[in-house]
Amino acid sequence: MRKLAATAEAGVVVAAVGQAAAHESSEKHVRGTAAYVDDMPVPAGTLFVATGWAPVAAAKGLRLDLDQVRQSEGVIDVCTEADVPGSNDVSPVHEGDVLFASGEVSFHGQVVFAVAATSQHLAEVAVKKAIFTYEAQPVQLTAAAARATEDFVLPTRTFQMGSPALAMQNATRQVQGALHIRGQEHFYLEGQVALVSPTEDDGVAVLVSSQHPSEVQKLVASTLGIALNRVTVSVRRMGGAFGGKETQAAPLACIAALFARRTGRAIKYRMPRQQDMMQTGKRHDFENEYRLGFDDQGVIQAAELTLAARCGYSADLSDSIVDRAMFHADNAYCLQNAQITGYRCRTNTVSNTAFRGFGGPQGMLTIEAAMDHMASTLDIDPVDVRLRNLYRLGNDETPYGQKVTDFRLGRMMDQLIEQSHYRQRRQGIAEFNARQSYLRRGLALTPVKFGISFTATHLNQAGALIHIYSDGSVHLNHGGTEMGQGLLTKVQQIVASAFGVSTALVQVSATATDKVPNTSPTAASSGTDLNAMAALDAANQIKARLIAFLAQGDVVGPGEFSDGKVRHGDVIWDWADLIQAAYLNRVSLSATGFYKTPDIHFDRATGKGQPFYYYAFGVACSEVVVDTTTGEYRLSQVDILHDVGRSLNPALDQGQIEGGFVQGLGWLTTEELLWNEAGHLISNSPSNYKIPTAFDIPDHFKVTLFQEDNPEATVFHSKAVGEPPLMLAISVWCALRDACRRPMQPLPDLAVPATPEQVYWALSGRKDAADLGRGP
């Protein structure tokens, strides 16, 4: 008999699921030993990539003189569109996202050629030596301009419910307004990076910081014109992604793969921060309009909402992003009669892309701005107007036909109103504002309802792979990627629980296209919902085999897997002993798992269906203090109640809620994305694009988990938590606007983001000044 490996320690563990376990890499994080792509040792002879990019935002007849680039020190190879053996198109869904621009230029910074050189420095020096000739074209930079010329990257869509025109006409009161919502730079701390090595089969092995390894695989293969089975892509972890590495990582891998094939050498392409900010897509800017018809109590009768997204030069994921903006333009409110229109506007700017919330935030902010507007005309506390319009039994139909069935949000709002002492503080603030000469406080309590599932139904599937080795140790793999959210930790906890062993026995591993194929991006907050279920499926298959082995042909009773033991009938096995016995008895100890979300469908032609498996909810109450002489402000208190269903890991869930909130805070306050009239991004570095620091969060920043089982059959009845909390920050923007309102005056418009300057203009009633010099 062959010698068996030493028995692994199963350990004693009680119900790993639901524990506030530390992130699986936490010790490596603090030691600096967690490896990111740029930390991987590079093979000898590795070359480094820099790209040459369009010096103008729109041009035709582009010609390149690259002689001096080729002759530059250290340059080994130079590529343009003409050098792509396969397809130059790197679109995720629709066509039009190109690897290299050729002939014409669609945005400032667009990649037109690339260089591989012996060092990063030499590559960057070389690309500056290109000579461009072109005919500059007029630039189209705003959604409004694109709407005027009807220049859209994809067709306009509308959701309609009831008879909005008639109901609007019959409504006793109306408000209307417009909101220009600026975009957001992801500012993941780890910039985009790929390291590609050629393989002996004329393929490539790709290490990349990507949320979507399968798509990187597909696009690398199509760029090179080879089959998918010659490309392997793996992702151990990302240093932050937030949607910015869903589609935007692939071009780096494609360019690096192109050079790897041409030179036979390993290629690293790491974008310097400034180019990352200029060349990769961001959250969409929107120019939105609203019109609400309502009664004297502030109950909405009709809504007309127009959402116009600045998509940039191509489609990328804009179709689904604008859809999601439309899906969230109702937020938590029953609109009764509604028309929601979404435009996908083409502009000469970088193609905007996924960013945590995926259009949802821009739709939701619009209706929340409208709710405050409506409340201000009625002189009713905005929180009461919000409560009166919440979805409830009988008022449960969304404009896209899905019925809301989970009504916990009303209870959550009541609970947070109580917990945060909202009513008393509202009174205190009124007194403070009456007393103070130039400081003003503002307060807002806003809800979030966020639909969970990819709205492209086919993406709602996942695979997993589990091996149990003969010593009892478990190898876990699935299609989800780790970007800091703790996905690998949660799935590890679930698999450990399923086998009744310690998480220490379950080794997580890099997401890899040669382990689990055809995966969906880790996006839409769905990472755990999908991958944990697939992993559970794999675990259950192995468990069934183990039980069948124990039953030895008798009736298969249920087994119990806990505390490192397996109980079946009267027999109790130590985990490791059972695994060894199963191995010796030729039981397969490896399984693939699969999952697809049930019961979802959506018909885009009619704009009706059930696109979401369920909704996740949240409520936030924020208070601010504003200096009216400068517009400077401070967020002084935040209370959050957020719905996580039954939490799989309260610590990780809290981290997602806090982090999402602060990211939303940045979007709505200090992060101002600006272009000049020529279409050049001018907020192009961390010195002029300011994400929040530790100073921007209040001393009182209290997050409470609302733990009540998800009524749907999700993994342990948990709820997704990645994206929804970002929109809790809408409460901060509403509080700032509340602080800007002068007694007896209408509620002023407030720009997004509400920088100190914009708060100052809102306070001064200087609507004219708000857009001065701020560019397109």
């Binding site: 603090v30 030691r31 921060r273 909130f661 961390p686 620091t693 969060i697 001393d699």
Partner: protein, 496 residues
């Protein structure tokens, strides 16, 4: 070998390193190319803190956090560096590392080594100043003390960006650490090597060019005579951006950081002498007693990592229109002492010294020796407006100095940053204030005059109109404060 600098030696995580490389090679590049990849590159511009390391720059200070991405490795001769790999002692995690695990303070983990080092440096500074006995009694618990503690925790990590956590757990870790006394790092890690520090690296052939760090004024002048076109470097927080952001190269750098004559720092009740190589951090500490307006302001300049590197001379020499020290030095009528390798020292009024957009009176061969300031007892206010409170560049800054005799203004200085090509004063307004009492009418009139006098540009930081209005409003605020009117601030409002 023209691009190879003289070999230096420094301590890295307890091991002596000998290194020769380019004069402008960064510590981050050195670390990562030598396989020490725990220190991350987030921005390569000193803005994100992911590359934070600890450096003991002299034996009178604790280890200090600095940005490795813009720190020339050649400047480390004789100094001691600790990176995240070297922080654990006998493989036991440093308390800052343990605390971040406990509080779930890392999500993606990329910024984490930087936070670990910033927190460890912060603790080291407390341990160092407390001394071996652990210092005095801890502050009694009270809401105010709690607010102050949290503020100190925030400051400790204000030069580090995290995009995942929202900072709450990291602040929680900092709060734990604040109540956990620790031993100074040099007791468990490498201490700065004084003999090595005082030694000169080998400057013999073939290492003729490259990085030079003279240790006396005469040596500095000799070097300038030999290499009048060499770039001067002190903290390098601006200069090194040429290398990391624009692929620039510096083959010859002369460091001002080791010349004692440039390190004077005397702040008396009414006057100050500040050597050009004094860091913002040291200036901030020294200004606390007699120059509180500057002391408070300096916490808004850069980040702890930047303040540990950047110098007064660098801010003056760069002469950016948004240089944070320029308006306040203009308002103080500061005198700049310029030295030259062959001419006598020259005293120049700062208003003459600044010549335009990033232009000064400095010529090749010149360097700034020190800055002299009087009038510290005058009424002085300095305000800065930026999109973000911490570690942001001013959209507008306003410095106001007044001498008051009873209620009459006998001298007024009003200086602005961010409103023109250079920091400037408005002498006409100063004249208008002369001999006046501060009244509502005067303030209204001055407000109008500022709006008329200034014509700033609109750019990524602010619009023209906002800049003008802020300049005017903040001048009025200063006058109100001079009148003794209560002017509560958004920060500190809840502390009282």
């Amino acid at each position: 070998m023209t691009d190879i600098s003289n070999p230096i030696q420094f301590w890295l995580n307890g091991a002596l390193q000998a290194h020769s490389g380019r004069a402008d090679e960064t510590l981050l590049g050195y670390l990562r190319h030598s396989g020490r990849v725990g220190t991350k590159e987030g921005c390569a511009s000193g803005d994100c803190g992911a590359c934070t390391v600890l450096v003991q720059t002299d034996d009178e200070h604790a280890y200090k956090p600095m940005n490795a991405c813009i720190l020339p490795v050649q400047q480390l001769h004789g100094q001691a560096v600790i990176t995240v790999e070297g922080l654990p002692s006998n493989d036991v995690l440093h308390p800052a590392q343990a605390a971040l695990i406990e509080t779930h303070g890392a999500q993606c983990g990329f910024c984490t080594p930087g936070f670990v080092m910033a927190l460890a440096g912060w603790m080291d500074e407390q341990a160092f100043s407390a001394g071996p006995d652990g210092g005095g009694q801890p502050e009694a618990d009270s809401p105010q003390a709690e607010t102050r503690r949290l503020k100190a925790c925030r400051e400790a990590i204000s030069g580090n960006l995290c995009r995942c956590t929202g900072y709450r757990p990291i602040l929680q870790a900092a709060t734990h650490l604040a109540s956990r006394p620790t031993r100074a790092l040099f007791e468990t890690h490498q201490r700065l090597d004084k003999a090595l520090f005082d030694s000169q690296p080998d400057h013999s052939a073939p290492y003729k060019t490259g990085f030079r760090a003279p240790q006396t004024l005469n040596d500095l002048k000799d070097l300038l005579r030999q290499q009048p076109s060499a770039n001067l470097i002190a903290g390098g927080t601006d200069l090194m951006l040429e290398v990391t952001q624009k692929q620039g190269r510096f083959d010859q750098l002369i460091s001002l950081a080791r010349v004692p004559a440039l390190q004077s720092l005397q702040i008396s009740p009414d006057s100050a002498i500040i050597g050009s190589a004094v860091t913002y951090q040291d200036l901030q500490a020294a200004a606390e007693l007699h120059w509180p307006a500057l002391h408070h302001f300096l916490s808004r300049l850069g980040s702890p990592q930047i303040r540990n590197r950047g110098t007064v001379g660098g801010n003056l020499g760069t002469a950016s229109p948004i240089g944070d020290l320029l308006p306040i030095l203009l308002a103080m009528d500061a005198t700049i002492v310029m030295s030259h390798f062959e001419a006598a020292d020259q005293n120049v009024a700062i208003s003459e010294f600044l010549q335009g957009y990033r232009k000064t009176q400095l010529q090749p061969g010149n360097f700034i020796k020190e800055v002299q300031v009087t009038g510290l007892q005058d009424f002085l206010r300095y305000y800065k407006i930026s999109k973000r409170q911490e570690d942001d560049i001013a959209a507008v800054s306003v410095a106001v100095r007044l001498k008051l005799d009873a209620d009459q203004i006998t001298l007024a200085r009003i200086a602005f940053g961010g409103v023109a090509e250079q920091a400037l004063r408005l002498p006409a307004l100063e004249q208008a204030l002369q001999g006046q009492a501060i009244t509502e009418a005067l303030m209204t009139s001055l407000h109008q005059q500022v709006l008329i006098a200034l014509n700033p540009i609109s750019d990524v930081r602010a619009s023209r109109d906002y800049r003008r209005e802020m300049a005017a409003n903040l001048l009025v605020r200063a006058l109100k404060e001079a009148l003794g009117l209560p002017m509560p601030q958004i920060y500190g409002l809840d502390d009282a």
